[in-house]
Symmetry: C2
Subunit: 248 residues, 2 copies
C-alpha cells in the first residue's frame, strides 16, 4: 500500500472510531444490546441470524441490519422472523462502517430517549425507532479481513467460522478474531463429512485470542443453539441494567 | 468512503494496472501461463492448487505464489508438490497487488529471456527464474471482494465457490465473478450433505457472467479434475505458441 493510501486510511479509520463511539453511547442510553456478526462469505451468518431473531422475538424487541455488496436477499429472508430488518447495500465496498449504520438507523424512524417512549404497549408495532429495541444485530459483508478495522459501535462482535472452512482460519485471519469477542463454529452438522477437527480449531482460536469464548452450533439442526440463547439472555439483562441506570 | 479515499484509491488502482500490464507482457514473452485463484477463505484454493501442481509437475515446470495475511502454512503444504513455491504474507492487507507479485518473482532468481535458458536440461532443478516456468499459479488472500480490483497480470483468473457456501454467492459478490474467467465449484463431495443446488448455482453464475465456463470438482475425491487438467493443457499449448512467436 502506498504511503498516501496508508495516511488517508488512517484518517478514515479515526473518523470511523469517533462515530462508532457516539453510536455506542446511543446504544447504551437506549439499553439496546447491539451484536455484530462477521465471517467469510457462506459461513452461515444469515442462517444463524434467522434462528436468533425467531428465537428472541417472543421475549424481546429485535431488529437487524444486513450488509451485502448486492441483492436484498438476506433482508427478505430475515423478514420472516421480524419486520425490523434493513438491508445495507454497499456496492463495491468490502465492509460496513459506522456511517452506514448511523444512516440505516434513521430508516427505523425517529429516535427518542425518554422513558415514555419505551412503554410495553409499543411492542408488536411494525416499525419503530431503533432506540426501542432490546437487540440490534448487524450482519457484516462476508469478509474475514476488512471488517476487522471498522468499529460499528457494537457491544459484542461474534466471529463465525464454519466447520467446512477448515481449522486454520484463526491462524490465517488473526485480526478478525482479535477484534471479535466470541467465536461461533457453525455448520457442525457437516463436521464429520468435512473431517473437521474441532479440537484443533479450538486450539487455533485459543492461540490467537486466549480465553475467547467458543460456541459450536448448527443452525440447521438446532445443535448448541440453547447455549447461545442463554448467553444472549444474560447480555440483554446487562444492557437493560445500563438503560435503567441511565434513565433514573 | 470519503472522496479523498476514493481519489487515492483510484490512483493506486491505476498504478497497479500499469504494473500488471508490464507483468503480463513479461509472462507472454516467457510463455508462462499465469493462473490466479480467488475465493472466500476456506473454499479449498490450497487443496485444489496442491492437486493441480502435483498433476502438472510431471509434464510442465510449475511454480506457485500464495498470499495470506499470516502464516506460511500454505507454502509448506504446496512444497510437497513442487519446491517452486513462495509465500507472500500481506499482514493486514486484504488482497495481493501487482507489486507484491513482482517482488515475489525476484525471489525465484534472475530472469532471462533468451531461448538458451529454456533448455530441457534445466528441468528438475530446485529453484529457477520464473521465466523458465510453464505455469505460475497465484493463490490470492481468501476474500471475495477486494482482490477483484487488483489485476495481477494473470492470463486466467479462476474464482472458486465451494458447495458448502451456498448457491447465492455469485449474486452477492458479482464483481469477483466479473473479474474472473472461469468458475470452479469445489467440495462437490459435500454437495449432498450441504443440500447444495448446483443447478441454481450455475444459473446464478450465468446471470452474473453470461457464458462463463464452470467446472464442478472435488479435490478430495478427484471428481471432475480431469476436465480441469484438459483445460489447463490447452492453455499451456496456447502460452507456448506465444513464446515461440516471441523468440523466433
Amino acid at each position: 500500500m502506498s504511503t498516501r493510501m496508508v495516511e488517508v486510511r488512517a484518517k478514515v479509520l479515526k473518523q470511523n472510531d469517533l462515530l462508532a463511539r457516539a453510536l455506542r453511547e446511543r446504544f447504551e442510553r437506549s439499553g439496546t444490546c447491539v451484536v455484530g456478526l462477521v465471517s467469510s462469505p457462506g459461513s452461515g451468518k444469515t442462517a444463524l441470524l434467522e434462528k436468533l431473531l425467531s428465537g428472541l422475538a417472543g421475549d424481546y424487541r429485535v431488529a437487524a441490519l444486513v450488509g451485502d455488496l448486492a441483492t436484498e436477499n438476506d433482508a427478505a429472508r430475515l423478514k420472516r422472523a421480524t419486520p425490523n430488518v434493513r438491508q445495507i447495500t454497499t456496492g463495491t465496498i468490502c465492509h460496513l462502517d459506522a456511517q452506514m449504520i448511523e444512516r440505516a438507523l434513521e430508516s427505523f424512524g425517529p429516535a427518542s430517549f425518554g422513558p415514555d417512549s419505551r412503554g410495553s404497549d409499543s411492542r408488536g408495532a411494525e416499525s419503530r425507532g431503533f432506540d426501542e429495541m432490546d437487540f440490534l444485530f448487524i450482519e457484516n459483508v462476508g469478509n474475514l479481513v476488512c471488517p476487522s478495522s471498522y468499529d460499528l459501535g457494537e457491544e459484542l462482535r461474534l466471529v463465525l467460522l464454519s466447520a467446512t472452512e477448515g481449522e486454520d482460519k484463526p491462524l490465517k485471519y488473526p485480526t478478525i478474531f482479535n477484534s471479535s469477542d466470541v467465536a461461533i463454529i457453525t455448520k457442525m452438522d457437516l463436521a464429520d463429512a468435512a473431517e473437521f477437527d474441532v479440537a484443533a480449531a479450538r486450539r487455533n482460536i485459543e492461540s490467537v485470542r486466549p480465553g475467547m469464548r467458543v460456541f459450536e452450533v448448527s443452525a440447521k439442526t438446532g445443535l448448541g443453539m440453547e447455549e447461545v440463547f442463554d448467553f444472549l439472555h444474560s447480555k440483554a439483562a446487562g444492557s437493560r441494567r445500563t438503560r435503567v441506570e441511565a434513565t433514573v
